[in-house]
C-alpha cells in the first residue's frame, strides 16, 4: 500500500474483496451524493426565520378587528438551511443543464445565461405595470421591438403579446376567431381539431364555448385534406392545425387547408408550438393562416422553470387583427410608445375582444426572448431551424432499424422523430423503455403523445446538442430499445439508479395526499 508522507493511504489494497453494492446498507439510507431531503414541515418551525426586519413604527393597528388569531403553521428556516434544503432538492432533478432533454413538442434547448442577466436589469425587473407610461418607455419599446421580430419572422401583420403561455395563446386566437365571426353575425359552433393535436387544442376550444370535432389523419401522419373538406360547412367556425404537426411532420397541404376553410367561411388557427423547426426558413403567414401562438419558452429559449412560466404571443392575419385583445403598445409618429388599455378602447379599437389577463403579459419572458433573438439574428435563427431539423433526422435515420418509425417512409421529419413501441416483447411498454433510459442518464422523450401512434415516443433533440452528445444518446436509446425488443425483464423494474424507484401513481390518485399533514403521533401529543 502506498502512503503519503503523513501516513495516509492513497490507494486501496488490491486484494480487498469489494461486496456487491446493492447489498450494502448505509446508516442514513443515503448513498454519497444521493441524499434524501425531508420536507420543511419536518425540519423547520414556525418560530424560526431567515429574514431580519426593522422595527415597525409604534402606531395602533387598523385591521378592523380581523386580526389573524389562529396559527398559520408555516415553518421557517434560517438562510443557511433554506439554501441547503433547496440545493439538495435541486440535485434530484434532471434538467437541460444536466444533459440532453429530448422531450418532444417541448423544445428543450439550452437557455442562454445572458437572457437571465438581461431580465434582471432593474429597468425591466423593478418596474410596476401601472406606472405612468412616460416612466416605462423603454419597456414599451421592448415589447414593440419583440412584436416586430415576431411579425417579421411569421409574416403576419399583427400580434397580441399578453397571453401567458401556449394554451392561453390558443384561447386568444380562438376568441378572436369567434369575435370575427360574431361581428359578421355568424354563429358557428364547431371547431375541428386533428386527433393528433395537443390536448390543449380541444380543451381551449371547449373553454371558449365551442363544440369540438376530430379531423381524421391519413396514413402518413398528416391531415386528411379530403375528409376535412367534406366536413367543412356553415356550422364550422374554424380549424386548429399544428404545423409542423405533432408527428414531427410538415403539413404540405397547409395552404390548401387554409383556402378550403376560408372558402367555407371559417378561419384557421395554427398551433405554433413547433415553430422551432421552421423559424427563419418559412413564414406561416405565407400559408394562409389567421392566427398562431408562439411559445417563447420553446422556440425563443426562455427557461421552462420546472413547469413554467411561459409566454404565448399570438400573431394575427389582417382579418383577425382588429379583434386582438387589450392591452397593446402603439408607436406614435414622434417615436413615443402609447399603451392602449381600457380607456382608449372605445376611441380606437372598439372591436377588440377585451382583456384576457391583468396587466400586459410576461415581460420577464419578453426580455429573455428578445435577448435571444438579437443574439442569433435572422441568420442565426435560420441556422437554428436547420440544425434542429438535421439533428432530428439524424436521430430518426440512426434508429429506424431498431425502433419502428411509423411515418419515416413519408420522407424527412422536421424537428422531432416519432417512434412506436411496435416490436417490444414480454409485455414491455414505452413506459418501461423510458424508465430504462433514465438509468442510462437521460430524460426520456415525450411518451404516449401523439395519440395516433401506439406507445408513441416523440424525440426532439433540438439544435443545441453537439454531434457527440447526440451520438451518445443514440447509442443509449438503441441499447434500451434492443432490450425492450428482446423482452428484458429488468426494464420492468427500471429505473434502478434514480433518486426514486418507480413511483406508484395509482396510489397517489386513489387517496390523494396533496398537502402535508402532521403525523398522527404529533396530533395525539398535542391533544
Amino acid at each position: 500500500m502506498n502512503m503519503l508522507t503523513e501516513g495516509r493511504p492513497t490507494k486501496q489494497d488490491e486484494n480487498l474483496a469489494v461486496p456487491d453494492q446493492g447489498a450494502l446498507k448505509t446508516h442514513t439510507g443515503n448513498r454519497a451524493l444521493m441524499v434524501d431531503e425531508p420536507l420543511i414541515f419536518e425540519t423547520g418551525s414556525p418560530d424560526r426565520s431567515g429574514v431580519d426586519l426593522p422595527e415597525a413604527p409604534s402606531v395602533e393597528s387598523r385591521l378592523g378587528g380581523l386580526d389573524r388569531d389562529e396559527p398559520i403553521s408555516i415553518p421557517g428556516l434560517s438562510e443557511a438551511e433554506m439554501v441547503r434544503h433547496y440545493t439538495r432538492l435541486s440535485r434530484q432533478n434532471y434538467a437541460i443543464d444536466v444533459g440532453l432533454f429530448p422531450l418532444g413538442s417541448c423544445t428543450m434547448k439550452h437557455n442562454p445565461r445572458l437572457n437571465e442577466k438581461m431580465a434582471r436589469l432593474k429597468g425591466f425587473s423593478d418596474i410596476h405595470p401601472l406606472q405612468p407610461v412616460d416612466s416605462v418607455q423603454g419597456a414599451l419599446g421592448l415589447i414593440d421591438e419583440l412584436a416586430t421580430w415576431l411579425k417579421t419572422l411569421t409574416g403576419m401583420p399583427a400580434v397580441a403579446m399578453s397571453p401567458k403561455a401556449g394554451a392561453h395563446g390558443e384561447l386568444c386566437g380562438i376568441l378572436a376567431i369567434r369575435s370575427a365571426l360574431e361581428a359578421r353575425g355568424d354563429a358557428r359552433e364547431v371547431i375541428l381539431v386533428p386527433e393528433s393535436a395537443h390536448g390543449t387544442n380541444p380543451a381551449t376550444a371547449a373553454f371558449a364555448g365551442y363544440k369540438v370535432e376530430d379531423i381524421p389523419a391519413n396514413t402518413d401522419g398528416r391531415v386528411d385534406l379530403d375528409a376535412l373538406k367534406a366536413r367543412l360547412g356553415p356550422d364550422v367556425a374554424g380549424v386548429m392545425i399544428t404545423n409542423p404537426n405533432t408527428c414531427g411532420l410538415f403539413e404540405p397541404d397547409m395552404k390548401a387547408i387554409s383556402d378550403a376553410v376560408h372558402e367555407a367561411g371559417g378561419l384557421v388557427y395554427c398551433d405554433g408550438a413547433n415553430f422551432n423547426a421552421i423559424v427563419g426558413r418559412v413564414r406561416p403567414g405565407d400559408l394562409g393562416i389567421d392566427a398562431m401562438h408562439i411559445n417563447l419558452h420553446k422556440t425563443f429559449s426562455t427557461p421552462h422553470g420546472g413547469g413554467g412560466p411561459g409566454s404565448g404571443p399570438v400573431v394575427f392575419s389582417q382579418a383577425l387583427a382588429p379583434f386582438a385583445p387589450l392591452p397593446f403598445v402603439e408607436k406614435t409618429a414622434d417615436g413615443h410608445f402609447h399603451l392602449v388599455e381600457e380607456e382608449t378602447a372605445e376611441d380606437h379599437h372598439e372591436s377588440s375582444f377585451g382583456r384576457m389577463v391583468a396587466f400586459h403579459g410576461q415581460m420577464g419572458m419578453f426580455t429573455r426572448a428578445l435577448t435571444y433573438m438579437l443574439s442569433h439574428g435572422a441568420d442565426g435563427l435560420k441556422q437554428v431551424a436547420e440544425d434542429a431539423v438535421l439533428n432530428a433526422n439524424y436521430v430518426l435515420r440512426s434508429l429506424e432499424d431498431v425502433l419502428e418509425a411509423p411515418f419515416a417512409k413519408s420522407g424527412p421529419c422536421m424537428h422531432e422523430a416519432l417512434f412506436s413501441d411496435n416490436g417490444f416483447t414480454n409485455g414491455l411498454t414505452t413506459l418501461d423503455l423510458a424508465k430504462g433510459l433514465i438509468d442510462e442518464g437521460y430524460h426520456p422523450m415525450t411518451m404516449y403523445f401523439p395519440l395516433v401512434v401506439h406507445g408513441a415516443m416523440l424525440v426532439e433533440p433540438t439544435e443545441t446538442e453537439s454531434r457527440a452528445a447526440i451520438d451518445q444518446f443514440i447509442g443509449a436509446l438503441r441499447s434500451v430499445a434492443e432490450r425492450a425488443k428482446a423482452g428484458d425483464e429488468m426494464l420492468k423494474s427500471a429505473p434502478h439508479f434514480a433518486p426514486r424507484r418507480r413511483l406508484d401513481e395509482t396510489q397517489a390518485a386513489r387517496k390523494p395526499i396533496l398537502v402535508w399533514q402532521e403525523p398522527e403521533e404529533y396530533a395525539e401529543a398535542a391533544e
Binding site: 426565520s49 431567515g50 429574514v51 415597525a56 380581523l66 386580526d67 389573524r68 398559520i72 408555516i74 421557517g76 433547496y86 432533478n93 434532471y94 422531450l103 437571465e116 442577466k117 436589469l121 429597468g123 425591466f124 425587473s125 405595470p129 406606472q131 412616460d134 416612466s135 416605462v136 419599446g141 403561455a165 394554451a167 390536448g199 390543449t200 381551449t204 376550444a205 395552404k255 421552462h304 420546472g306 413547469g307 412560466p309 377585451g354 384576457m356 389577463v357 396587466f359 400586459h360 403579459g361 420577464g364 438579437l374 443574439s375 435560420k382 438535421l390 433526422n393 424527412p412 433514465i438 453537439s466 454531434r467 426514486r500 413511483l503 406508484d504 401513481e505 397517489a508 390518485a509 398537502v515
Partner: protein, 452 residues
Amino acid sequence: MRYLPLTPNDRQDMLATIGASSIDELFVDVPEDARLDGPIRDLPMHAGEMAVEAHMKKLAKNNSAAGDMPFFLGAGAYRHHVPASVDHIIQRGEFLTAYTPYQPEIAQGTLQTLFEFQTQVARLFGVDVANASMYDGSTACWEAIVMARRITKRGKAVLSSGLHPHYVSVAKTMARFTKDQLVSEAPTLEAATDGADLLEQIDDDTSCVVVQYPDILGRIGDMSALAEKAHSHKALLIAVVTEPVALGAIKSPGQMGADIVVGEGQSLGVGLQFGGPYVGLFGCKQKYVRQMPGRLCGETVDSEGKRGFVLTLSTREQHIRREKATSNICTNSGLCALAFTAHMTLLGEKGLRELAMLNHKKAVATADRLASIQGVSLLNESFFNEFTLVLDKDTRPIVRKLADQKILAGVSLGRLYPEEGTLAHGLIVAVTETSSDEDVEALAIALEGELA
C-alpha cells in the same frame, strides 16, 4: 454562433448519414413558393454578448426603476424585498432548466417543492388543498368562477365592486363567450366594503359570489356573513387575495368560510417585472378537489416503499380529458411558485407575521401623514398596506406629473376606471417594507405642492 455546437463538418457528415445531399432536402415538404431563399430581411444579423447587452441596457435605462425613487404603487402588484438567496435558488439550472415533472423519478426536486408550495398556500389561505399554480391572479379568478359553475351547475356569478378591475375585465371577456352571467358594478368611494349589497344579490341562481380581500381600495371586510348567505343558497364564496402578505396579519378567507380562495402570489419571491410572469394561487375545500384546474402534486411511495411525489389526478387535465378537461392550462408558473416557496420558507410564520405588521404599521403612519395634507382625505377605516386617498383634484394628471419628478405616487383610480368620473379623485397608495420615511415625506411634500 455561440449556442450552436454543430460544425460545418458535422453537418456534412450527418447529412451523409441521413442520405440527403443538402439541408434543403430535409425541407422538401414545404411548398416551394413558401420557402425563403435566405435569412429573413429587415431583421439584424447575429450579435455577440457585448453588443446585445448594450442594446438591452439602453432600453432598460429608459424606464424609471421603482427602487430608484419614492414608490407607492400597488393595485395587484407589490414591491417587496426579495432576499438574495431566493434568486440564487431559482437560478440553479436543475430548477431553471427542467420542465413539468412528467418523469417523477428524476424530478423529485421540483415535485417536493410543489408539495411544499401547495401546503404553504393552503395554510396561508386557510383551506384544505391548493394546486401547483396558475398563470396569475386574474386567470385564477376566472378559473374559480368556471369551477363554481361546474360544481353548482348554475351560471350566475356575483362579483364584488371591490374586485380588481382587470380581474373583472378578464371575467367579462370570457363570460361573453361562455354565456355566463356576471353581476358587477364599479366601486363607490365609501369607507365600508360592498358586503351588505352583495348579500342581497345572492339567490338560488347564483353559482358564486366573488370577493377581493383586502379589496381594490384597500378595505378589509368580514366575509363570514357572505359565506353563510351563499351557502344557504347552495352557492360558493370565492375569495380573491392580491396581496398574500396581508394574510400574515388578517384572518384567512378559509376561516371565514370561503370555499375557493385564489390569489396573486407575486408579492413573495417574484418581483414587479412590469406585470409578469407572476404566479396564480388556487386553493379550495377538500370536497371540490376533483373539480380543480391545473396541476396537482401528490404524495405516494416508490417500489421500495420510499416516500416520493408525483403529478396526480390528471384525469381532470387537458392531456387526458381533452375537450372535457377542467381547464386548458398546461404550462403554469412553476419557477415563480418555487420563488414564492423559497421566500415563504425564509419567512416562516414568525417572519410572515412580522413582515405583515411592518407593512401595516408603516401604511398606518403614512396614511395619517398624507391625510394631514390640506385637500386630502383618507377613505379607509381599516386597511392592510394599501389605502385610498380622495384628493380635491383629479389624480391622474398629478400622478403623471409626480412621475416626471421621479416620485411614483400610487395608482390613480382614473387609470383603472376611466369610465367612472366619480372615481377620478381617488388615489390608491401602497406602502411596504421597502418604503422609507424619507420616501413618505417626499411624497407628502410633493402632494402638498400639487394641492396648494
